[in-house]
Amino acid sequence: MDLFLNFVASGLVIGSIYGIIAVAFAIVFKTTGVLNFAQGEVMMLVTYTSWSLGTELSLPFYALIPVSIIGAALIGIVIERIFIRPMIGQPVFSIVMVTIGLAVFLRSMIVMIWGPDAAPFDAAIKDEIIEIGPVVLFSEQLYAILLFFVISGVVFLFFRFSRVGIAMRATAMDETAALLMGVDVRKISSLAWAISAVVSGLGGIAFALMFSRAPDLWFEGLRSFPATILGGLDSPLGSGFGGLIIGVIGALSEGYIGQGLKEISGFFVIIIVLMIRPYGLFGDKELERV
């Protein structure tokens, strides 16, 4: 039983990272209808930038986080402006392909700037051991779970109650109508990219604190796809909790079934889920008029 609880806990830890990235996927998808295949790379760029700020400028951790958030938002806005904005009006397929191209581009660029080696991400809040009953966690793992819940809560409240969040949902629902109601639709898209860059960037920092800042960080982006799919691409909260589920399933199957399953059990799960519910567990069923 202790072993089981520890598996679940480690699953929740990695699942909260998946969840955070999945929330970022869902924010962009919900507002712009584009699945951002470069989300993992945006996350990586934010994490690397923040690592450089932390180690080379040696900012204290509590100053680093606000600076990283601002930096992430800027990165999101700049990427949207340069790569995505000019594609407005093109078919979704083209825009998605641009994000795939962007992913390969950013990944290579990051390795060329920071080099191919991994480096530890140090911070004052790390390496304390916390025992909750039979479950043993490092402090940074606990913070990752907390971060997930904070982000989910904030994103939920933002979309539900804030003026901008409502404008974003309106744009997602009907762009023309939103435009006629006085919503600046162009700003909404860049805002969505900024928010998703911040969210995924925080996830990336949390991940780098647990492991290291390494050039295969982008892969966490791909691993979070099952979470987004499970929860439904257009449901940020659903995607987030999809991440927790995928994480726990991964940890349990790795623990009880076989080695290496942690990475791909999620993909098995989504193939099965998509067979039963092609729009995810919490996604809206798309009705089509002909």
Partner: protein
Amino acid sequence: MRTRHFVETYQKHVALSDSPATWSWVAIFIIALLAFPFLASTYLLAMVTSVGIMVVGAIGLNILTGSTGLISLGQAGFLASGCYTTGLLITDYGWPPELALPAAGVVSALLSLLVGIPSLRLKGLYLAITTMAFSFIVTHFLLYAESITHGPYGVRIEDLNFLGLDLADQVQLYLFVLAVAILTALAALNILRTRVGRAFNAIRDHDIAARVMGISLTRYKLFAFAISSFMVGIAGGLMAFQFRFINVDIFNVLLSIEALAVIIVGGLGSVAGAILGSFFIILLPEATREVLDFLPDSISSALSIYIYEIRGLMTGLTIIIMLRIKPQGLVGLWRDVKRYWTHWPLSK
């Protein structure tokens, strides 16, 4: 000035192309390719052999993604299954290569039906992710099912004799790949202009409308998956012939993305596009390397460590730029040039 092209006889209607100019260009191109091994270095020859293999795979992907509109991010999985089928059948089961190569196509096609069945309910992005999931599962299986696939140790093919051809020889391998590529291109051209090909296009343009017109979505989507993956599987088998040492490492996500880049750069839904795109994507890193050689030594040696990254950088930028300025790809560019010349001086 040519005003219009009239097709006058039945023969002209059913011909692959009724333009003598097209045929003579194709003839010149094929003769050039046949003469190529006697002029080029071994290095260039190996590279153009890779282009040929990529053409086979890209034509396959183009039928699925370009013509039918089903986006696949799992080409690495189909290639890997084809490559391993050929390799393992030859080494462990003693099959002759003549049978092992078609078997690669058949295995990939059967696997694609497994992915295709859930895909009947999925659209666009969800499908792309399912195919990606499939390719992860395939590579995982190849890596961990050691008793069948040799896992991390890879598969080594000792010698290859295909209908009297010695495929260990560069020139003979090249000619063999060329023949397969030409056959694939002919097959694809013929499939795409028949009822089946038009059904594919109808599904791409609007699947519900296609269904209303009596096209069975189930049958044609699965058919597109099967044909496309058969070709990709054959390409995988050819990869086994070329490398003769198979390892799961090359079948990564970047390969799937490069495959998509090929057809985007070349032109979606066109066989000529797949060919142009393959040349472009394989020769691009080479061209980059040539350019790097012109830079001062200090810069070029600093950059040469990152040759893999530069390749990624170029692939990514190519996709982005191509989609931005010419979504129809190199084929579209070629058509524009042609139109410009035929209408000159009235072209704008």
